[in-house]
Symmetry: D2
Subunit: 356 residues, 4 copies
Amino acid sequence: MPGSSFGRILRLTTFGESHGPGLGGIVDGCPPGLDLAEADIQADLDLRMPGQGGASTKRVEADRARLLSGVFQGQTTGAPIAFYIDNTDQRSCDYADLASVFRPGHADWSYVRKYGVYDYRGGGRASGRETAARVAGGAIAKKILSLRGVVVHAACVELGGIAVPHDTVEAMSAISRPYFAVSGAVVPRWDARVEEARNAGDTLGGVVLIVARNVPAGLGEPVFDKLDAVLAHALMSVGAVKGVELGEGFAAARLAGSQNNDTLLPGGLFASNHAGGILGGISSGQDIVARVAVKPIASIAQKQQTVDKDGRPAEICVGGRHDISAIPRIVPVLSAMTALALADALLAQARIECVR
Amino acid sequence: MPGSSFGRILRLTTFGESHGPGLGGIVDGCPPGLDLAEADIQADLDLRMPGQGGASTKRVEADRARLLSGVFQGQTTGAPIAFYIDNTDQRSCDYADLASVFRPGHADWSYVRKYGVYDYRGGGRASGRETAARVAGGAIAKKILSLRGVVVHAACVELGGIAVPHDTVEAMSAISRPYFAVSGAVVPRWDARVEEARNAGDTLGGVVLIVARNVPAGLGEPVFDKLDAVLAHALMSVGAVKGVELGEGFAAARLAGSQNNDTLLPGGLFASNHAGGILGGISSGQDIVARVAVKPIASIAQKQQTVDKDGRPAEICVGGRHDISAIPRIVPVLSAMTALALADALLAQARIECVR
Amino acid sequence: MPGSSFGRILRLTTFGESHGPGLGGIVDGCPPGLDLAEADIQADLDLRMPGQGGASTKRVEADRARLLSGVFQGQTTGAPIAFYIDNTDQRSCDYADLASVFRPGHADWSYVRKYGVYDYRGGGRASGRETAARVAGGAIAKKILSLRGVVVHAACVELGGIAVPHDTVEAMSAISRPYFAVSGAVVPRWDARVEEARNAGDTLGGVVLIVARNVPAGLGEPVFDKLDAVLAHALMSVGAVKGVELGEGFAAARLAGSQNNDTLLPGGLFASNHAGGILGGISSGQDIVARVAVKPIASIAQKQQTVDKDGRPAEICVGGRHDISAIPRIVPVLSAMTALALADALLAQARIECVR
Amino acid sequence: MPGSSFGRILRLTTFGESHGPGLGGIVDGCPPGLDLAEADIQADLDLRMPGQGGASTKRVEADRARLLSGVFQGQTTGAPIAFYIDNTDQRSCDYADLASVFRPGHADWSYVRKYGVYDYRGGGRASGRETAARVAGGAIAKKILSLRGVVVHAACVELGGIAVPHDTVEAMSAISRPYFAVSGAVVPRWDARVEEARNAGDTLGGVVLIVARNVPAGLGEPVFDKLDAVLAHALMSVGAVKGVELGEGFAAARLAGSQNNDTLLPGGLFASNHAGGILGGISSGQDIVARVAVKPIASIAQKQQTVDKDGRPAEICVGGRHDISAIPRIVPVLSAMTALALADALLAQARIECVR
């Protein structure tokens, strides 16, 4: 209940601060008999490393996940799967002066108000570093999804105000492109936009597209745990995310019903997918399509006005190595959260399938 | 876990189909000693009745909530509070032909795929009628919020593609306007738009603004149960909602960090509120501001192509009395869900406050 | 979380005070397609009525359960199933003087300390009347169990200190005997013991045996949610229960390992069942056997010393119509709780079975 | 939901097998600002080490807990607290032959039936080694309890059929005695009983007394999450536990109501404590008193009949280093589970206290 767990049947619980000894998590509820190796997790963690594009920090983070339990002879046993990632590159000294002032746009202020105390070294639990545990958990979720052929794709479709027209199918190949871009053609323009922001000591936001394919119809629970509600929860829980939409999303608000309804065709098909693959909160069998708004990173290389712990006006210049945008590193994180939500829904549906 | 409950400490569990005997719910976890009467719940239920504007159905629904437990001598006792609303105006005959064909844009298809069976009379649990129980539960949540002076406002800021420029302060008076409009000036234009859609046998979507005032700093839990994530879950769980954004939302994706950061001022104030009152998933003490995209109602008065239960092409004309837009009736529902999420977060924070 | 819900996948949430308008509950998570009628619930509720033996009150309670949702054309739909029972025979006047003094052995004292307020009319949520909702919920759980042939039997094996030697097989026919006695021979002795207690203005306790047959092997979750732990939770949650043991229970503490181990035989059989059907917290396929200690009813027809709300010494004579023993009326309640725990475990196991 | 978590607000989630790399857990929900060091956890872990009496194995296990998160500058921050204990003395070879036969009285059989696969090396999650993580979690819970002066004592009151008359007050000093015995006088007799069992290649059970002092009145939730129900869940979830009773427990079944009721006295006192400190499921302010039945260890140094994985008759002699009794090592584990349950209840009550 205190917020470090996600999922009902497949439940990920995470721990760790950016500048403590390390971080990790426990995935409870994974079915037995799945092939799982550290390499499966490492492959996804590597996608979160800097280097997918010009927007990320040069800080070298060698995230190495170690499996601590739940796997025997290369297979899951049904026991909780714990993983651990050492913080090899923690340098608290970078953050020493943050003990006395609040960084604008960061969680410093709200955490102090919540807890009375604050681990100011790089944000503690509010650090983006926390997302490594999500990616590791998501890698396990993807193993479960693969039992039914479900695949989650994520792609950047807008960066720094430069959107790129796209088809959801293009998300499938984004993993191999810089920025996990939905289209290769936009990359040079995004490179220039990032460079421009870097020179201005500023940061950028963007929009990420999520497409989940082969999701069986029937996932999600009516009323409060609709599949789109749980997905919104999952995606919005990632730091820097300020908006989530399904299918047409905000554009649906401007369509007429006759435009927005998806005509059903024989064979379980639909003439369109304005709904984004979810009807009444339950998956329809179409691709699940979501878009996520990512705000610009709050740590900018500019002098900013703020207040100190005593409420007095202060000036701050957040130093250190910071990314220009949460994109592309947030992309595998959003993909992981989608996988966790879908795998949980898949296992929840088993209670009904088994009765039939 | 099967989806009919919302909240962790203050938990609403609902039941009821649109065409069964009635609907209701149980609010568990309400603190003792609060004044509560049926009239408190009725006041909010009345806001959900047709008549706030031209967009809603003429069907007369006299939703009368009866309190069944948890209140003694006019005060809550700490016991679960149950309420019940009779379905006085159920006419299953209207829906008899829906037993054989799937309505486009409705949950018929996905429910059948999920459960194998389907209560086709008006949508069962997928009916908008389910939201009456949310409104009743929200009325109880508001009683808890009022202990700390927290107030939730909701206003329609866009209908049928006609957006209205507004200040979040204007949401405070929307409750008294047609459509719960954020501004009175737009009402005639919306009236015309609704009339136009009605004549075309079509339906409209819109956007609702939520503003919660006096929310204390410190609410929400880090990582997975961030306050914005829980709000997104709460709001997206309402039928017809296709998108949720906090603060600048999708617009934040186009701002630079230097524009989007809110400067902290002495006295716990901020120079702006791009964040929408939430930093790192924890309330900052500023107004919480969210916007919700509402799709056009799927039941249109036009002939539509679809398939029948055997997968053969079919034609459908959804008769009956239907609203032109989920706005304005969805507005008090979104307000209720916001209140439920905030009251739950408020009670969750007690575990920390009491230790201090 | 505030205590009115039981179960993870099949979740019963109850409400209602003994002297309010009525009581009821919601069963969420019931699979679709099960035959369910009000008569199914009524049959179990009738077992809880006075008249199974000499130990219960003469008060006439006509508990009539009404189904409010979740059933369509005689079958469950997967939607939450709500039921409601009117309190037809509430007479608050009987309890008026209880507003000022605490009854020994009752929850008055601890509820006031917990909530600050107290619904003193017959105990509110602490009344035995609350268990009617458990029995109704249990009737639904039994429908699910019957899909796999699981049956729950409960029998009284000791009353007022008079124990009866028995075989667990005899529990199967207890439903038709006075006191739900495990053996007919003991009934006259129990009758005499009850009469003796009644004449003394006193009350009696006893022991109830639970036997669940045909439980498939593999139910229960390792570590914290072992099947025996969940059963202990379920059974101990019933008012008046002071002890729960599985298999040999406390007697196992006096056995040597060589005596207590159950030898495995070919064919999934065991040479004995000291374990009570649970090994390492997981069902073994043998009968699940539990015993439950029931304390004597706290309301005795004798003058008792106590204190009033202001802490001053006071005298109390709890009048009204009260049972001499919680047995036999608690027997169907314990049976219901066992069924709820087992049905939940059965549905939880589906997540693993479906993968295989 | 899959069983590796305990608690609602203070939630312990554990992982690890007896013969994997190590084990550990995450405590989520701990309030900020508590002093916490590895030494606090180590002190309790050391109580679980062999050496408290003659009944435990000579195997040297150096359980060293390392804190991985949630503590900054010696104080809890409100973030999840992770701890890890390396398995330094794992010798899988001891268990190689267990891959083919089921050990009587162990979880091998039921785990294989549940999961299809089985980590046979020493029991995997069913190993008693799992309890080290409970003890570590309990040490954190005790820190929270100490804020209100709550202390949990546990003592062995019966071993191998030799019970010792005792007063609950004596439990306070048991920590310093062999077997955590409730009285020093019985120790030589227990020593002789253990030696006798060891010579016979057999094992022993016993009974443990739990006494929690200074528990404030008002803890526990009515109906399903009564404090005694949650304690029964907590205690019964420990391997080898076969029975739990509160206060008089099974003896209460033989008392008359006039004997069992505890008379209330002025000043919040009671004339007796038959109830064991819980009335109507809510703590009364008296000492909470529970007794727990512990079965004899299933691994005996005798040849036993069983079946192999293919269902054929087989013979087994469980070698390796095994304890003669789960006592005394189970004693700190039961103490830890009690502390976890009480700390959770204490934090849950905050929601009501803060409103008052």
